[in-house]
Amino acid sequence: MNDITSQITGFLSAALRRQVEPDDDYFAQGLADSLFALELVTFVESHFGLTVGVEDLDLDSFRTANRITEFVRRKTGAPESGEAHEAHEAYEAHAEGS
């Protein structure tokens, strides 16, 4: 499991209070409500330093940890490895107003 995916599964497992694997579809399993969706999107935005606009709101991009990883890579242009750390640093720089 790569760095981005492991961070996402860690978040999902904590939020849903169960072990979530990279291909688990928590929407299909009926585990997701709007509060969870808000928590998830807010996590992705703040942790990976990106903005989820209305045009990004395709459920298929968010239904599994692996799909979110692909979404994060598309939005940030992150490479295959070591990407999460760099993205997080970029976010912190952005948050400081640079």
Partner: protein, 337 residues
């Protein structure tokens, strides 16, 4: 904040009197029927203890009783109404007939320009206000517009999974150019993509089997929810900017009453706190459709959660989908002309 900043050109519209009629019979949430255990758990976790319910009262009767109270409060005869605008019922008692002209007849509002507005679920109170504002601006001889709605569930079951429980209640707002509550600005946005997300199939089944159904639960809980966050955030920023005010100038935020979870969702999405009156009314009355936000505002004023002169923002969301923000200013009784 200056008064000039708040007057960006919109014609004045204010609430001269407001009244509600809530049936006496109280239905505990435990007596609200659900279809299975999953629904039962969700229903019991909504933050609703009771709803008012009287199956003998139609939406027109609920609206009529509220209307009579609002007219009495203002000391106005129904014949002096310039316009009667009904926020349409979820479901008419009869097809082809007119509920709004029935209400006109019951009230004796013979001189009122009379019609219904709607199409936006709970948000339909907003087009009613837009209509009233337009009528008052367009016709100097027209002084009073009565906006009414009778809230009744459309389906046989009061529970709408996984959203809320519908209660019964009537509301009447007597609108004029001046009054204690001034509607300073109105923002509304719709997205027809969701027009059929919730619906009731009725043509092929008895009314006892009518059921409010969400056709795509994941669309409701994800895409529409996040679209709501993004749209309301942008709408709120714009509403405040065009009125020359900041968040610190808003003394209170009021929402419609769907569930405790929906309140948390709005608070987290917009980084606001809703006035306690919202949770109190949700607990007692459940969801009253387009009537929620002004009932909550009224309760907040009664409980002194808002003071005279305060600004408040009223938030309405409908899954059809529609979003609305109302900027209102609360005044003293002396403002009521």
């Amino acid at each position: 904040m200056s008064q000039q900043a708040l007057q960006h050109g919109a014609a004045p519209v204010a609430i001269r009197s407001a009244a509600w009629y809530l049936p006496e019979h109280t239905l505990p949430i435990t007596d609200v029927r659900t279809l299975d255990e999953t629904e039962r758990r969700t229903c019991d976790g909504l933050g609703i203890d009771t709803v008012r319910a009287d199956d003998a009262l139609s939406s027109v009767t609920l609206a009529e009783r509220a209307a009579r109270r609002a007219l009495e409060q203002a000391g106005l005869d129904a014949r002096d109404l310039g316009a009667l605008v009904m926020v349409e019922s979820r479901v008419q008692e009869r097809f082809l007939s007119s509920e709004v002209t029935r209400l006109q007849h019951l009230l004796g509002a013979d001189n009122a320009t009379t019609f219904s507005v709607g199409g936006l679920g709970c948000v339909s109170i907003t087009p009613a206000l837009l209509t009233a504002r337009g009528l008052l601006a367009a016709d100097p001889a027209l002084d009073h517009v009565l906006v009414v709605h009778g809230s009744k569930p459309a389906a046989a079951l009061r529970y709408r999974h996984p959203v809320t429980v519908n209660g019964d209640g009537g509301q009447a707002l007597l609108l004029s150019r001046s009054g204690r509550i001034r509607v300073l600005d109105i923002a509304q946005l719709t997205n027809g993509r969701y027009w059929d997300l919730f619906h009731i199939d009725y043509r092929d089944r008895p009314t006892a089997q009518w059921r409010e159904q969400c056709t795509e639960p994941s669309t409701y809980s994800f895409r529409l929810a996040m679209e709501t966050r993004n749209h309301l955030s942008a709408m709120l920023d714009d509403l405040l900017r065009r009125n020359g005010i900041g968040r610190g100038d808003v003394a209170g935020f009021v929402s419609q009453n769907l569930s405790a979870g929906s309140f948390t969702f709005l608070e987290d999405s917009l980084d606001i706190e809703l006035l306690p009156a919202c949770r109190e009314n949700l607990r007692q009355y459940g969801h009253l459709g387009p009537n929620d936000v002004f009932l909550n505002l009224h309760t907040a004023l009664d409980r002194k959660e808002l003071a005279p002169g305060d600004l408040a923002v009223l938030i309405n969301v409908s899954p059809v989908a529609a979003w609305s923000l109302l900027l209102v200013g609360t005044g003293s009784q002396e403002d009521t002309a």
